[in-house]
C-alpha cells in the first residue's frame, strides 16, 4: 500500500479533545440535577399540605410510607374518585394496614423494629375520617412513631 510505503504520508490533523470532558460533564450535571429517585410509582395524586414548622425526616431506611389521596385520572375507572390508600405499589384498604405494619417491621433487623416510622403522605384535601382510621389502625398494630409529610411554606 502506497500509504504505508510512501515516504511522506498525508497526516490527518489531530482533533482537539480538550472540550470533550466539558461536554460530558455538562451532560452529567444535567442528569444529576434532573433525576429524582422514586421507589414506587404513585397511583394516587398527592399534594402535601404546607407548614412552617416542618423538620427533616431522619433515618430514611427506617421509614415506611402510607400514601393517601384520590386516584390518578387513569386509575379512576378502577378505583373510583374517593380518597384511597396506597401501600407500597398497590391500592389497599384500611384493614390492610395492620398486615402492612407487620411486613414492614419484619423486613428490618430486630434492633431497628421499635424505631420504624410510618410517614403519612396524604393529600391536603383528604378528609380526616380516613386519616383517623389509619391512625387507629397504626395504634392497634403498635406503630406509634408517625410522621405527617408536609412542604415547607410561608405563614399564610
Amino acid at each position: 500500500m502506497a500509504r504505508f510505503t510512501g515516504k511522506k504520508a498525508k497526516e490527518t490533523p489531530a482533533l482537539n479533545m480538550g472540550s470533550m470532558s466539558d461536554i460530558i460533564f455538562m451532560l452529567l450535571f444535567f442528569f444529576m440535577v434532573i433525576t429524582t429517585m422514586r421507589e414506587s410509582t404513585l397511583f394516587v395524586k398527592i399534594v402535601v399540605p404546607q407548614g412552617t414548622e416542618v423538620s427533616k425526616l431522619e433515618k430514611k431506611s427506617l421509614v415506611s410510607y402510607i400514601n393517601v389521596g384520590t386516584p390518578m385520572q387513569e386509575q379512576q375507572a378502577k378505583y373510583g374518585t374517593d380518597s384511597r390508600i396506597q401501600l407500597n405499589d398497590q391500592i389497599a384498604e384500611v384493614s390492610d394496614i395492620i398486615q402492612f405494619v407487620e411486613l414492614e417491621k419484619s423486613a428490618r433487623v430486630e434492633a431497628d423494629r421499635p424505631f420504624v416510622t410510618f410517614a403519612i403522605k396524604a393529600d391536603k384535601d383528604t378528609k380526616m375520617g380516613l386519616v383517623s382510621d389509619i391512625k387507629q389502625e397504626l395504634r392497634k398494630a403498635g406503630a406509634y412513631k408517625i410522621f405527617y409529610n408536609a412542604r415547607k411554606g410561608e405563614r399564610k
Partner: protein, 190 residues
Amino acid sequence: MGRKTPGLNTSSMADISFLLLTFFLMTSSINTDQGIARRLPPPLPPDQDTPEVRERNIFVVKINSKDRLLYNGEIGRLEDLKDRAKEFLGNPENKSNLPEKEVVDIPLLGSMEVSKGVISMQNDRGTSYDMYLQVQNELAAAINEMRNELATERFGRKYADITEPQREAIDQAIPIAISEAEPTKIGEKK
C-alpha cells in the same frame, strides 16, 4: 492545509472537573422528606377509666367539618392559636384559670416548673387534612418557640444547636402535650 493549532494543555482539566464533581457530591442531598413528627398513644386497655383532668389544665381545640375552629367553646381564628397555646402552656403570670405547674427535677436544668396543661384536639371526620395539619403546625410552632426561648435562656443557644442531653432536658421541661380525641362524625359522607 491551514495552520496547525497549538495543542492546549488539558491536563489540569481533570483536576478542575473532579473538584466540581466532589463539590456537588458533597453538597447535594437526595430530596429529603419534610413534615411533622408525632407519637401516637398506645391503645387504652378497655377496662381503664379515663383519668380525671381539671378544667383549668385542659385547652380544647375543636375543628368542625367546615374547617372552623373552636377554642374552649369560643369561635377562634387560626392566627391566634399559637399565642393562645403559648399562653396556656406557659402560664407566665400563674393565673388561676390556666394550668397548674408541677416542680420536677430535671438533669442539666435543676428543678423546673413543668406545666400540667394538655391541649386536647378534636376534629370531625369531615375536617380536611390540610386544616388538621395547619392546627398541628401552629401547636408545634408554639411548643418550638417555647423550647427555643428556654434553650436560649439556659444554654445560650437555639434549640436546634444544643447537644442531645440538653435537648432531652428541654423536651422534659416542655413536653408535647397534645392529646387527640376520637373524631366526631357529623361531616361524614354517607
